[in-house]
């Protein structure tokens, strides 16, 4: 029976129309709806399913970020995770936190908690890095199974179906391992209200990054964040011939 560590990141909700802040250091987050990174929801769902199938004994949800990150841990607990760990990183340090820091923290926790599996989302919808799972596997020197479409337990370990450009790829891996969830792995349940109530009573531990011996000092600086260029206004052409010649001019056909 294995213990699963899942990463849950608090991100600006997918439905929010993001705006660059006046200082041009990032997007406006104040007063903006946040929720759990959708790929992390899939990771939690997979871990909880494995627990329900008795393939895992415990699911631990980890979030790294400011105090509000506890909200997404609570959501994970309401979905069925057993306990939570909040690694508090805030302010400028959090603004500049990179996958390398996150993966070191996760690796440290995986060892401390004696996890057999780490399941993460394939990417976070805010910075779209798609690096954390891979780096975590590297730090731990564990095998990795990324972009999971299907995860099956076998005697030897896991059989994983991965989403790749050309289609699906099946690999086998031993545990412990680090996995990342792709969109079609499952349909995450939503937390019901009674479970949200119950989650309030589940244990949630708070630690600092330095307690784990991970240095989160920023190594980068943000020079400027800009809105994407506004689309140029179109022009109305009188007929199809004019359209075709315009397209040719622009080298479009």
């Amino acid at each position: 029976m294995s213990r699963i560590l899942v990463g849950v990141k608090r991100v600006v909700d997918y439905a929010v129309k993001v705006r660059v802040n006046p200082e041009k250091t990032g997007v406006v987050t104040q007063g903006v709806k946040h929720s759990m990174n959708p790929f992390d929801e899939i990771a939690v769902e997979e871990a909880v399913k494995m627990k329900e199938k008795k393939l895992a004994s415990e699911v631990i949800a980890v979030s790294i970020g400011p105090s509000q990150s506890q909200e997404v841990i609570r959501t994970a607990l309401a979905m069925g995770a057993d306990r939570g760990i909040h690694v508090e990183v805030s302010g400028k340090e959090y603004d500049l936190l990179q996958p390398i820091h996150v993966s070191k923290i996760l690796a440290k926790l995986a060892l401390e908690e004696k996890a057999d599996l780490v399941i993460l989302g394939k990417q976070a919808i805010d910075d779209d890095c798609n690096q954390t799972a891979q780096m975590t596997a590297a730090v731990l020197d564990w095998p990795q199974g990324t972009f999971c479409n299907k995860i099956e337990k076998t005697d030897a370990g896991l059989t994983i179906t991965r989403e790749i450009d050309g289609g699906l790829e099946t690999i086998k891996t031993k545990v412990p391992a680090v996995l990342s969830a792709d969109l079609r792995l499952n349909t995450p349940r939503y937390a019901t209200l009674p479970n949200i109530m119950k989650a309030k009573k589940k244990p949630l531990k708070k630690v600092g990054a330095s307690d784990l011996g991970v240095d989160t000092n920023p190594r980068i600086d943000i020079i400027s964040v800009e809105d994407p260029p506004v689309r140029q206004a179109g022009a109305i052409v009188p007929d199809v011939d004019a359209l075709v010649s315009k397209l040719k001019e622009g080298g479009h056909c």
Partner: protein
């Protein structure tokens, strides 16, 4: 002048009529003798303006009863609730099928939506009225038919057990209705007893050994009537007056299980709207109810029924404020995109006026609902007038807003796939059930007048023995003096943000005029005021406008004090709303007393009598 007041003290006849009108609980004691001695103190802002006095505690400052932890919890519930409606429920399909499918209902049970206010120990979510109201908004924005399914269950179906249940009744029934997928219903209405709920004919007779009641009769239009296994049922029972030995029928409330036997129901009614909700007749034939299933005291059933309805009324305001938000969003989306005559609809002043009016009335509705819910959560017992007003206001506001949304969408609004025609159909019932708006208007006016009357009565007694009551007399005398010279009077300015001083002055003048109008009506009509429905309706409308002004003044002041990002907008909403409410209120008060209108009401009665007698319109066709 106090001679007149003698006529005002509610006679038994008046009280009886009042009770009939009141599909809402009369707050005053049922013992007229005691009442004349000491008018009940009442913290209700609305009740007090009827006697020209300001009781500000329930309106200013705008209440804020949730703890930080409760606010956080509420916020965490919103997402899963919205998600259910986005991902699982399909309002159009429920409407089309005239039912909610099994799988959706199962998920709704799992979501916890059927037992939002049941204490945790019994398997519910244990939320308070304000938190419930917040979730109701989400329901209202998405599916009113489903809203009635869960509302008839918990807001009225088993609410009586929460309010009046014995520990044994709670332990037995609350877990069932919270987690065991057992539906509840509230069965009051009968074919011959709708608004006049006191005249029900269902009868329960106590067995010789006193261990059972045997219930017979039938109920009509019971929400969840076809699916409920537990019902709160009201029936006449024979009671003996312990003093006189006189036998009298009085209503008693019962918890009836379908499993008792003898409970059957009719086919689901085919309806204009809220089709997703089951409505059915329910029949009781020699149903054997154990004595321990009496809910509340024997003979106190009418009070039980009215308090259940009162207790749930704010929920309708909260729900419909959500519905309005949805309608406004639809209209806004359309007029931001649609171009006619070379411009976006949003750029036309006519369209802008519509959007603004819809927003104003939504703001007022929401402000009422959450002021009432929070007063209730703070332990107030004096919210009945306000709750009745919020029900009237919300149901009419939502109708107006949905209608205007459809208008803004033009032909698109009329199309089924837009989804607004369903909302319009669903909304119609809200002005009819849980007390028709007409009856509630009479209730508001008459309850307030009765309260004012009992206070004037007290004043009259004070004059009989001035030595003992000089304080009261002086207080009253100075109040009158102040208002007659136009100074002093009511002053709301200390309660509102400085930007609202002028608006608050208008509202305060309305309050003063209102008190004076009530007094002059009492002088003019005495207890016969009960028959002057035209006048009572104007008075009720004036009361509604006053309440709407005060709640918006209060809420926007809160926004300013808390430096909310929306404060500026809320001030604009309040000023624009109050500008109109103030004018309407003055007009209604004038129409309640002016000689011209007295004649106009007579003319209306004459027209109506002619048409009624004729069996329809009575004019000569222009072309034969």
């Amino acid at each position: 002048m106090f001679k007149v007041i003698e006529k005002v003290a509610p006679s038994n006849k008046t009280k009886y009529l009042l009770r009939l009108y009141a599909t809402a609980a009369p707050k005053t004691s049922s013992n007229p003798k005691r009442e004349v001695k000491k008018p009940q103190e009442n913290a209700s802002f609305m009740a007090n303006i009827f006697r020209g006095s300001l009781a500000s505690t329930q309106v200013f400052p705008y209440p804020d009863v949730l703890t930080e932890e409760e606010k956080e919890l509420t916020a965490s519930l919103i997402d899963p609730f919205e998600r259910f409606f986005r991902e699982v429920n399909n309002a159009a399909r429920n409407d089309e099928n005239s039912q909610i499918d099994e799988e959706t209902l199962n998920q709704l049970w799992e979501l916890g939506a059927f037992s939002i206010q049941v204490p945790n120990d019994f398997g519910g979510l244990g939320l308070n009225n304000t938190q419930y109201g917040r979730l109701c908004q989400i329901v209202g924005a998405n599916d009113l038919g489903l809203g009635i399914t869960i509302g008839a269950h918990q807001s009225i179906g088993f609410k009586g057990i929460l309010l009046y249940g014995t520990p044994e009744q709670k332990a037995k029934y609350l877990p069932q209705v919270s987690t065991e997928k057992v539906y509840a219903a509230f069965a009051l209405t009968e074919p011959s007893a709708g608004s006049d709920a006191g005249s029900i004919k269902c009868r329960a007779v106590k067995s010789a050994d006193g261990k059972h009641y045997i219930l017979n009769g039938s109920k009509i239009w019971i929400s969840n009537g076809g699916i409920a296994d537990i019902m709160t049922v009201f029936a006449q029972t024979e009671m003996t007056d312990p003093n006189t030995g006189e036998k009298k029928d009085k209503v008693t409330a019962f918890i009836v299980e379908r499993g008792f036997g003898g409970v059957t129901n009719g086919a689901p009614e085919k309806k204009m709207g809220i089709k997703a909700s089951n409505t059915a007749e329910v029949y009781f034939e020699d149903v054997k109810i154990p004595i321990e299933n009496v809910l509340g005291q024997e003979g106190e059933g009418f009070k039980v029924a009215m308090n259940i309805l009162n207790n749930g009324r704010f929920g309708m305001g909260a729900t419909l404020s959500g519905t309005m938000k949805h309608c406004i969003a639809k209209a806004v989306e359309h007029c931001n995109n649609r171009t006619q005559f070379g411009k976006k609809l949003k750029d036309y002043k006519g369209i802008q006026e519509k959007i603004a009016q819809m927003s104003l009335i939504q703001y007022a509705t929401e402000s009422m609902a959450f002021q009432i819910s929070q007063n209730m959560d703070a332990g107030s017992q004096d919210y009945h007038l306000e709750a009745a007003i919020s029900k009237i206001f919300a149901s009419e506001a939502a109708w107006y807003v949905c209608d205007e949304s459809i208008q803004i969408l033009g032909g698109m609004g009329f199309m089924r796939e837009t989804g607004l025609e369903r909302v319009m159909r669903d909304l119609r019932i809200f002005r009819i059930f849980e007390g028709t708006n007409d009856i509630l208007r009479l209730f508001v006016a008459l309850t307030g007048i009765q309260y004012a009357g009992s206070h004037l009565k007290e004043l009259q007694r004070a004059f009989k023995n001035p030595a003992a009551n000089l304080g009261l007399i002086f207080k009253e005398a100075s109040r009158r003096a102040a208002s007659s010279v136009g100074i002093g009077g009511t002053d709301l300015s200390p309660f509102v943000a400085p930007q609202l001083t002028a608006t608050a002055k208008d509202a305060a003048e309305c309050i003063d005029m209102f008190g004076q109008t009530v007094e002059s009506l009492l002088v003019k009509y005495g207890k016969n005021i009960i028959n002057e429905q035209n006048v009572l309706n104007r008075l009720a409308d004036a009361a509604i406008d006053i309440y709407s002004m005060v709640v918006t003044l209060s809420r926007s002041t809160r926004a300013v004090n808390e430096k909310l990002e929306t404060a500026e907008h809320e001030l604009e909403l309040t000023k624009a709303w109050c500008y109109q409410a103030n004018e309407r209120c003055r007009t209604n008060l004038k129409h309640a007393t002016s000689g011209g209108h007295v004649n106009f009401y007579k003319d209306l009665s004459k027209v109506a009598e002619t048409v009624l007698e004729n069996g329809g319109v009575k004019t000569t066709n222009i072309v034969g």
